[in-house]
Symmetry: C2
Subunit: 563 residues, 2 copies
């Protein structure tokens, strides 16, 4: 099994007749999926998603794939294929289109509709769309594409086949193999089998659940659980789930009808996405069940169902505000029931449990995946992946979509079905894999950093800023300001000492004022007249003092101002 | 069911003959367990633990119970009972003893031995110890105590019975009901039954796992899994677990012997605790299996087992350093096996997965509770709690040890066994419960905040500092420094603008320098000569600009220095 090595250098130019795979996101993390394929000096991109930041990237809104490796070749991009409509697959598209607006966008009807509403929000209008469906074949330059139905936690997901002179690539996108999905649209294993018989030279497979033994439970199994909770509930019901989970919402609508309740959507993305899904026929809304949130509030509690965003504990979401009794019209009461029909994304636990505890404090009954089967994953577990490998019998495997632990587990599954270990390639973001003469091999490494979106800035915030934020957030800072007379070159004011996140009381610093003045006087007496050196003197004196007296390491910011 | 209400006021003085329960920690959170019992103007404390901070309390080392409510009555404390030796039950004891050093300490042999080593670290020596064991009875003032064996994830844990004129209280401490524990010391349900027949007026029960259906798996079931992993492993084995989990380490030692391997402890607390457990006979070390870490390194990899701390992803722990190939003598290699034989405490997921991914990156095989039965909980699940309630048949119930969601789930279990709803009291930290004439009722609320330990300071860091840290950590800061001539009262220097965690480039601020000067000139022309008002002017100008141009909200720190 090939491993990424830190010592990898830039890849050599691609051999004639070979295919290059350049992962720019999603390999080594769950999110910002983006893979570039290069053949005959032309490029094809599969997915362009965002990564939601965790604790290591405080204050950041979004993390984008790094376009640097293809920035000077964007004119060579034949198309961007979107496998499905989740944010981690489509969310960075507006940022790519800002760099080249006329890249043809290829995807299923629902995927492109969800993307379209996002592009409108970003005021991007003049885009080129190609709606495709399972079975369709379409070529872009040297890339002959074919699409295969896959089942996922959003309707209308597609795997993509890429045929070039270098061979056949099958990229699953995100998928699972629910054998009784709500819409009857199963992952097309007959197509996988046919492609396998033709010969799959490189198989890119979703690793997210490769560590999970067995099989992902069917979405259908949630229905009876919802039914039981609805049956037991005597008051208002609130169901939180992802705003794109059309089938989950479908089951809530059906349960509401069965129990004589009405439903209102809460949260902008929920309202918007369900409207799109309904308009396109992916969501069946029984007549009369859906009402406006304000009209719902007029009904008695036992007839109300709210379908809400905020299942990950997002602090500004409707559900968080409800948990704090801070929502403008939903007032949670003892005996209300809240269902978190959602996953718990690692890193969000504290936020989600804060919401659950908030709801429980008011006496609400909270049902969540920890105490009832109200969520199933959207990804194939180990058992399903084994089926895939045995049906496809790929010649080379590149696990995608996951942290390194997921990709390794996926690689082990491939090997267990007989794929030779040297044909299973583990590559992280930026590690380039070439398919040459039917063999996949690591060819080098391209630049691939984190690109942070923070407020209106894109890519201006660096890892150094992140590190500063982490120090400031853990330790606070102490700033020490000295004024130096620009004529005499002597200290004429200060030290003014300010601290935040460090201690409450400015008198804390009385003890260090004189030592700072003494140190500066000494430095000046020693002939130091450079303000950088004076600042370093201050930093040293204050740093030693604070470490000795407080056993802490706040950021120390000495400022010497001339006046 | 009684609920805490925000409008609760201070409780009236305690009625003659009544018992008061004052929870100072652990009710509403998992950690810093501490409950004070008051009878006839005398106090008894059960446990005095620490809480480990999560994301809402950045940079804090520890959180203590708030002693404020009893600070002026510490002379009335008859004893501090420690139910077992975990940090969340004993960890704050040194801080309490700093306030009154001669409080008698009561606990089992192992508990007091672990506490003793902690007190020595804090240089507290002259303490009063009473070693007790199951079945013992001992009185402190009006409190007649009896101890009952309970099973937990550390040996020698005790439940405590408190008899006063107000009735009989049974406090489980942390416990579960493993029916086949490694040391054969089961939770003594015969004693629970006998106490129930006598009549338990108030039952305080561990809520931690009340949301978990069914029964906690026996510790014994881990043995065969370890055996299989040891059997499959052809190289070095590293097992990480809690440093107090004597029985988990026992099973690792036994597996090592069975597979011809030697064991070394890594991590200061692991070495220290296992020495104590061994000295007191709680850990059986087969002859010759234990070696020094340096001697272990001399053996071939297939004969090495390291038992390490760091199972929660603590960044400075041995395991984290191993995962970064940054440890001074353990160099992780492809094919090594790492077992995380530990829980995953909510909030630690990112840190733990970073360690797992780090290990996987070097090719290690990582076994953890997500993919194998290498951990069982130390707490009674719902099924066990039902047994308890049915055996004890308590007259009043106060769920303890848990977040509000856990306490509510525990309350529901009590009610399901027939405890009347109005005899199940939900109280959070500081909410005082009185047992009067055999009925438990909320009596009011005492002060009970978070007390932060940060470096060498205890309680100096306030919630305001925490809020500052959260803002600094998410957004960074911009400081703007102006010098005002103390003679003329005019601006004579600046604005100097510095930012950290905000943007890389100081030229970002060129656009705002002149507007600041203009605004200050205008303010001075308008007669403003107060430096606070000038600072507010700067704050307003910079705040508006940064929000408009960057869509962010960094902390803005205007400083006006006189020189």
């Amino acid at each position: 099994m090939s491993h990424p090595h830190p010592e990898l250098s830039a890849p050599a130019p691609l051999e004639k007749g070979a295919l290059r795979v350049i992962p720019l996101g999603g390999l080594g993390e769950v999110g910002r999926n983006m893979t570039v394929f290069e053949y005959d000096d032309r490029l094809l991109i599969v997915d362009c998603g965002v990564l939601f930041p965790e604790d290591h990237h405080p204050g950041v809104d979004l993390i984008l794939p790094d376009f640097a490796a293809i920035r000077d070749r964007l004119d060579k991009v034949e198309a961007l294929v979107l496998t499905h409509g989740h944010e981690d697959h489509i969310g960075a598209t507006p940022y790519l289109l800002r760099e080249r607006g006329d890249i043809p966008l290829v995807g299923s009807e629902l995927t492109l509709a969800l993307l379209g509403s996002k592009l409108r929000e970003h005021r991007l209008k003049e885009t080129v769309h190609h709606v495709v469906r399972e079975g369709d074949r379409i070529s872009f330059g040297p890339f002959e594409l074919e699409f295969v139905a896959v089942n996922h936690s959003i309707p209308d997901a597609l795997a993509v086949v890429i045929r070039t002179g270098a061979g056949l690539v099958l990229h699953t996108g995100d998928f699972k193999m629910d054998q009784l999905p709500l819409d009857g649209r199963i992952t097309d294993l007959r197509a996988f089998a046919r492609l396998g018989e033709e010969g799959v030279d490189l198989f890119l497979t979703d690793s997210t659940n490769a560590e999970v033994p067995g099989f992902t439970t069917s979405e259908q199994n949630i229905g009876p659980v919802l039914d039981r909770v609805f049956h037991q509930s005597k008051q208002r019901l609130i169901v939180a789930c992802f705003a794109s989970h059309v089938h989950r919402v479908q089951q809530v609508l059906d349960a509401a009808v069965a129990h004589g309740r009405k439903v209102a959507y809460v949260g902008r993305s929920m309202v918007r996405n369900m409207q799109i899904a309904h308009d396109l026929g992916y969501l069946t809304v029984p007549p009369g069940v859906l009402v406006d949130a304000k009209d719902l509030a007029e009904l008695p509690p036992e007839r109300q169902v709210l379908v809400s965003t905020g299942s990950q504990g997002e602090p500004l979401s409707a559900l968080s505000r409800i948990a704090q009794r801070n929502h403008h019209f939903v007032h949670i009461e003892e005996g209300d029931t809240v269902i978190l029909a959602s996953s718990l994304i690692p890193g969000n636990e504290n936020a989600v449990y804060r919401v659950i505890n908030g709801l429980a404090r008011w006496g609400a009954n909270v049902v969540h995946k920890g105490n009832a089967l109200v969520h199933v994953s959207g990804h194939a577990s180990a058992g399903e992946l084994l089926y895939c490998y045995n049906i496809v019998k790929p010649r080379n495997v590149l696990p995608v979509h996951g942290e390194i632990r997921h990709m390794r587990a996926n690689a082990e599954l491939a090997k267990a079905t007989g794929v030779p270990a040297d044909r299973v390639v583990i590559a992280e973001d930026g590690v380039v894999v070439d398919l040459v003469d039917g063999v996949a091999k690591i060819a080098g490494k391209v630049e691939c950093g984190y690109v942070f979106v923070d407020g209106s800035s894109i890519g201006d915030i660096s890892e150094a800023s992140m590190k500063d934020r982490r120090i400031l957030g853990e330790e606070g800072f102490i700033s020490v300001i000295l004024v130096v007379d620009s004529v005499t070159g002597k200290v004429s004011g200060g030290p003014e000492i300010h601290a935040r996140g460090f201690a409450e009381d400015d008198s804390t610093f009385d003890a260090i004022r004189q030592p700072i003045i003494d140190a500066i006087d000494q430095a000046i007496a020693d002939g130091v007249d450079d303000s950088y050196q004076l600042q370093q003197t201050v930093r040293r004196v204050v740093g030693r003092w604070v470490n000795k007296t407080h056993r802490r390491r706040p950021m120390i910011i000495p400022v010497v101002v001339e006046a």
